[in-house]
């Protein structure tokens, strides 16, 4: 250890790297500048694409000639990439632990080291010009060699780096070589919850800078009424003079020369930027030399001023809240090496789901991402590349955070981010990093941040806001957030991570939102997280397997903890995102049934509701019977209006009012009349009276020793008198069921229940409870036959369980009423996943129609997005493709559900006649519970010969306690007394009326 390696020397953050400055492109003239095309910038040469590549077992294994001689025999990779995703080594996933021994600042001597080479043909360099090579992301340590000459070094994986390579270039072919180490001292600062992988993962390109050029610019906006004062500072090289012009829709609104590198412009009647109206001006910087125009720099400039006044964050003087999300870069095929189209679709999806803010967890993004956020209207907590989480495993997460010898490394990271991105209107605050403890280096970062920019600074682990401007916590529970609201401090507060979206969930978002909405000092909440980090591995059979921690034999690993997004790896919304969209819908509705008044409240922060149209639908028994369009008008932010909305209750059946909210405006993220939310209100319910049963023959019963056969009009049912359930049920010449009902308390384990699973369920073997039938008896009661089963459901090895009674009442029509009740014994009274019955249907019965919440899945604490209606789907389509299979496809608020074949033969399930006002929930899967529980990946599941149907009287809420909030008390169901009943009604020829008509048979 006598020699200090550059990659193990924290104060040394780079060599020959150009000082950080604003990211911009420069053009030869104004018209080119207004294209904003990088490809048309002066001397821009994209170097992403094929490079020769070789992977070595550590930096010492790289021969010197590999840095100076082109190796044509090496393999070719296409950058941007992470080499592990191209088969060079393997990715590894840890949430917090370092994947190597902690010995800071040292890293393993055999740290994988990749060497990239590319021959680049260049023309002669124009006289006086400088050629700049720019990397927008190299993980984690890079040395650059040009034509064999050492040119420079950089650290900070997700921070851009530029090198002036002019002096090493010549006309013709030039050899560019980049040596990249997977780990360096910077890795101790980059322990984010994501895949460990390395390489040149963002664009690399050449830029020509003429002798006279702009070096940097800094724009600051202040708002005075409707007037914007725009102060601009520039740094230039060799400029005779510089001017600035600001244009709106092609017309100049302000223009001024610079004096001593500074100017100030005034824009009257300014259109300020905000996330709801992200208007951008064209800002053009003209740089002149003695001969005339040397270059033009263009920047799309939004006008924003962020301030804190009286403990509240203000954007352009207006109060606002951030309804946000934490976003990592992720693509299922390329990991963090994402393309700009993926970024664009991410932002479009966010806007379509009412999200107005992103925390760039936990590192800077590609510079174009900030431009896109300006364009789409997404506020940013712009976070830098910092997390030292792994030190928590040795008892001091702040070990290097509070060590002054690391200060330069910490400060470098916030300085480079702010210097590069501070001209973006979308940034409402800076963030110093994530989960790195608190100490002197955080304070130094804070000071540097404010030296460079006036916007507020955030850092979660300064929990008492000793330094930072915005106080923050993560995963604080609903009532804890309420405590913060009831007892506010002098600084604004956010919840920077909550709603852990691992697998099915999160639940409880609605309650969180009520608290966020209630208190002014709570100004933002950010879901963890945007996208699952699953990696796609195509299989020969055409299926794709999505991999997570451990699937690459990486050890130690945190398994599927990286599958925790609201968007599936294939960039489609999960049910959690659909729920979030509704919960944060910026238009709130309430309805006074008596006065027939609809109140519309504008929960936008900057714009009125003149673009909003409401489609008010009256539904009777789930079917739309009338529709009216309502126009709330230009309701200002925070205000409400009431609109007369007449609804005629149906004389019979259930009447509901559903109001769907549309914007008539087209945006880059949506088409006109896009639905941004909906609400539903009960109007009336008048039960349909029972109808006298048609004349039907008496039931016949044949009692065998082990079997009771009941025959009636077109059906026969065989009851197993030993097992106490239906053995065979035939109606209209076909099998109604593939296996009979079983009472149960389990459903496939979901990630958000893992605390309960590990802490209480698995230790008590609740997942393998056994049913012991103690007694079966039958009797005739009027025209019906009653079978009564006494059974005990209990786990092995324990002395607690449930004494249950199940009663089947078979009617002459073929309807079976099932009643179940239970009384626990022993010492277990805690939460359970569900109370319900499960049976199997033939696989042909995969057509599903129901009246209840839909079209998507819903759970007791996650049902705002799915309104009551009449829906159709198939069992296959209802199965939510969580990367790790788990309970899914539940539908709350169900009045009835029917599963049929394509010909319409099947089974309808309802409550009993006298219990119609109590909806139930159901799910139907092409797999069994055990198969889903066993599967670790979606492609492990193979559809079986039967369909599993679950009819649930009670379901446990989801919560989000895969990491965070436990299930709220109101959504907890316990191993306690219960009693419920259902009716099972076979029917044929799609004649639902026959199944749903209440017959007087008792």
């Amino acid at each position: 250890m006598g020699v200090t390696n550059d990659w193990e020397n924290p104060p040394l953050t780079g060599r020959n790297r150009i000082e950080p400055h604003a990211y911009f492109m420069a053009y030869e003239n104004e018209k080119l500048a207004l294209t904003y095309s990088r490809e048309l910038a002066r001397g821009f040469m994209q170097l992403a694409g094929p490079w020769n590549f070789h992977l070595f077992d550590g930096p010492a294994a790289v021969p010197l000639k590999a840095l100076s001689q082109f190796n044509a025999q090496w393999e070719t990779v296409v950058i941007p990439h992470l080499w592990q995703f191209d088969g060079y080594g393997k990715p590894a996933y840890t949430d917090e632990g370092f994947p190597f021994p902690i010995d800071q600042p040292y890293v393993p001597s055999d740290t994988p080291t990749g060497v990239y080479q590319r021959l680049v043909s260049l023309p002669a360099i124009p006289q006086g010009s400088r050629m700049i090579l720019r990397f927008d992301g190299v993980e984690s340590y890079a040395e650059l060699y040009v034509n064999g000459h050492y040119t420079g070094m950089t650290k900070g994986s997700r921070l851009s780096a530029e090198f002036d390579i002019t002096d090493y270039l010549h006309k013709g072919k030039n050899l560019f070589t980049v040596k990249v180490l997977q780990y360096c001292d910077g890795s101790y600062l980059e322990d984010q919850d994501m895949w460990w992988a390395s390489g040149i993962f963002r664009d690399v390109y050449l830029i020509e800078r003429p002798h006279t050029h702009l070096i940097d610019f800094h724009v600051r906006v202040s708002k005075h009424g409707n007037t914007a004062h725009v102060a601009i500072d520039i740094v230039s090289a060799h400029a005779k003079r510089c001017t600035v012009r600001i244009m709106r829709d092609g017309k100049t609104v302000a223009e001024a020369p610079f004096k001593h590198g500074h100017t100030c412009l005034t824009i009257d009647n300014a259109r300020f930027w905000n996330p709801e109206d992200p208007f951008l001006y064209d800002l053009l910087l003209f740089v002149y030399d003695e001969k005339g125009l040397a270059e033009v720099v263009s920047h799309k400039q939004g006008l924003t001023e962020v301030k804190i006044e009286n403990g509240r964050l203000l954007l352009n003087g207006s109060y606002f809240k951030m309804h946000g999300i934490n976003r990592h870069d992720h693509d299922e095929y390329t990991g963090r090496a994402i393309g700009v189209q993926r970024m664009r679709r991410d932002l479009e999806l966010m806007k379509r789901h009412n999200i107005n803010a992103v925390r760039t967890s936990h590192y800077p993004n590609d510079p174009r991402f900030y431009e896109l956020c300006d364009e789409y209207g997404i506020m940013l907590i712009a976070e830098t590349d910092l997390e030292t989480h792994g030190f928590q495993d040795i008892g001091n997460i702040a070990l290097i955070t509070d060590d002054p010898s690391w200060e330069a490394a910490f400060v470098d990271r916030i300085e480079r981010l702010i210097m590069q991105e501070r001209n973006h209107a979308c940034i409402v605050m800076w963030s110093l990093g994530n989960e790195s403890g608190y100490g002197c280096n955080i304070r130094a970062m804070y000071r540097k941040a404010h030296e460079l920019d006036a916007r507020p600074v955030h850092y979660e682990e300064d929990r008492n806001a000793d330094s930072v401007d915005v106080i923050s916590t993560m995963y604080s529970r609903v009532s804890q957030m309420n405590d913060f609201g009831e007892h506010p401090g002098p600084k604004p507060r956010i919840n920077c991570e909550y709603g852990h979206s691992m697998g099915n969930g999160p639940g409880g978002l609605s309650e969180y939102q009520q608290v966020f909405d209630r208190w002014d000092n709570l100004q933002g909440q950010f879901i963890w997280e945007w996208c699952d980090h699953g990696i796609a591995k195509p299989a020969a059979n055409g299926h794709v397997r999505y991999l997570y921690g451990g699937d690459y034999e990486d050890y130690p690993n945190h398994g599927n903890f990286c599958i925790d997004g609201m968007v599936f790896p294939w960039q489609e919304p999960s049910p959690g995102l659909t729920e979030y969209k509704q919960v944060i819908c910026p238009i709130r509705l309430s309805y006074d049934t008596e006065k027939q008044l609809l109140t519309v409240t504008n929960r936008r922060w900057f714009t009125d509701l003149s673009d909003i149209r409401l489609a008010a639908n009256t539904l009777v028994d789930g079917t739309v019977v009338s529709r009216q369009e309502l126009i709330p008008g230009a309701v200002p932010p925070g205000a409400s209006t009431t609109i007369k909305c007449l609804v005629t209750p149906a004389s019979i059946g259930e009447t509901l009012l559903t109001v769907r909210i549309h914007t008539i405006n087209a945006h880059p993220w949506c088409e006109p009349f896009y639905e941004i939310g909906a609400a539903q209100f009960p109007i009336s319910f008048i039960a349909r009276p029972a109808v006298s049963s048609p004349a039907l023959p008496e039931l016949e019963a044949l009692d065998g020793e082990k079997e009771l056969i009941i025959s009636g009009h077109g059906f026969s049912i065989s009851f197993d008198l030993i097992k106490g359930t239906i053995m065979k049920w035939a109606a209209f010449g076909r099998d109604v069921m593939a296996s009979g009902p079983k009472l149960g308390f389990w459903h496939p384990h979901i990630d958000n229940h893992k605390r309960e699973y590990r802490g209480i369920w698995k230790p008590r073997l609740l997942d393998v409870m056994q049913t012991s039938v103690r007694q079966v008896e039958w009797l005739r009661e009027g025209r019906n036959i009653i079978i009564r089963i006494e059974e005990r459901i209990a786990p092995p090895t324990f002395a607690f369980g449930m004494n249950a009674t199940i009663i089947y009442a078979v009617h002459p029509s073929g309807r079976i009423d099932v009643s179940a009740s239970g009384k626990p014994y022993g010492n277990y009274h805690d939460v359970i996943p569900r109370v319900g019955i499960t049976f199997e249907l033939p696989s042909a019965c995969h057509q599903v129609e129901w009246y209840g919440r839909g079209p998507g899945e819903s759970y007791p604490d996650s049902l705002q997005a799915n309104l009551i209606g009449r829906y159709r789907s198939t069992v296959e389509n209802m199965f939510t493709p969580y990367v790790v299979p788990q309970d899914c496809a539940n539908h709350e608020g169900t009045r009835w559900v029917a599963l049929t074949s394509r010909h319409g033969d099947g089974l309808a399930i309802t409550r009993k006649t006298e219990d119609q006002l109590h909806p139930f929930s159901f799910s139907a899967w092409p797999y069994s519970c055990e198969e889903i529980d066993r599967a670790s990946h979606l492609d492990d599941l193979k559809p079986g010969e039967t369909i599993t149907v679950n009819i649930n009287d009670q379901m446990l809420g989801l919560g989000s306690n895969s990491w965070g909030s436990e299930i709220l008390d109101s959504y907890r169901i316990r191993f306690d007394r219960f009693s419920f009943s259902f009716s099972l009604r076979p029917f044929t020829s799609a004649d639902l009326a026959s199944a749903l008509t209440q017959l007087q048979e008792d």
């Binding site: 009532s479 804890q480 401090g489 309650e511 709220l968 008390d969």
Partner: protein
């Protein structure tokens, strides 16, 4: 209800458990924070301090997911508490605040300066405005099967 005459007693009995250790940490920190300003330590607890008169409520307040810990920080504190089932509920339980309120009467317990009292989740309590003084309220999670968060 668990009454501890001294923090040393509390530490000896519960100090090995993260959330209770954090309770002591909160008590060590609370006076350096502005009055009536809630802060948190990890996900274990929220806490603030105020004058007894400000902490006092007319109704008994109970919780289901958090335990109230009352600790005088200047003068003594008097707490009236009772099992919930012996009180009359005056509103329904609220998930948003984890509160349910009751009327009735209970046992009056004096908490000495330097001590603290933990109210169980099947009890409800209220602070008596007198004696004059200041105290801290720490709301500690009932979560305990596993506690992996920070």
């Amino acid at each position: 209800m668990h009454l501890f005459a001294t923090l040393e007693d509390f530490n000896a009995q519960l100090g090995t458990i993260t959330k209770w250790r954090r309770c002591l940490e909160a008590l060590n920190t609370v006076q350096s924070l502005p009055r009536n300003t809630a802060h948190s330590i990890g996900d274990s607890l929220t806490y603030w301090w105020d004058k007894n008169a400000q902490l006092a409520t007319t109704a008994f307040v109970g919780h289901r997911r958090y335990l109230d810990v009352w600790a005088p920080i200047q003068g003594n504190m008097t707490v009236e508490l009772a099992p919930k089932h012996r009180l009359q509920a005056i509103d329904v339980y609220d998930d948003l605040s984890d509160r349910e309120r009751f009327t009735g009467s209970g046992a009056v317990v004096a908490v000495p300066l330097g001590g603290l009292i933990v109210i169980d989740d099947d009890e409800a309590s209220r602070i008596i405005a007198n004696p004059d003084g200041t105290g801290a309220l720490i709301r500690v999670t009932v979560e305990g099967y596993t506690f992996p968060n920070k």
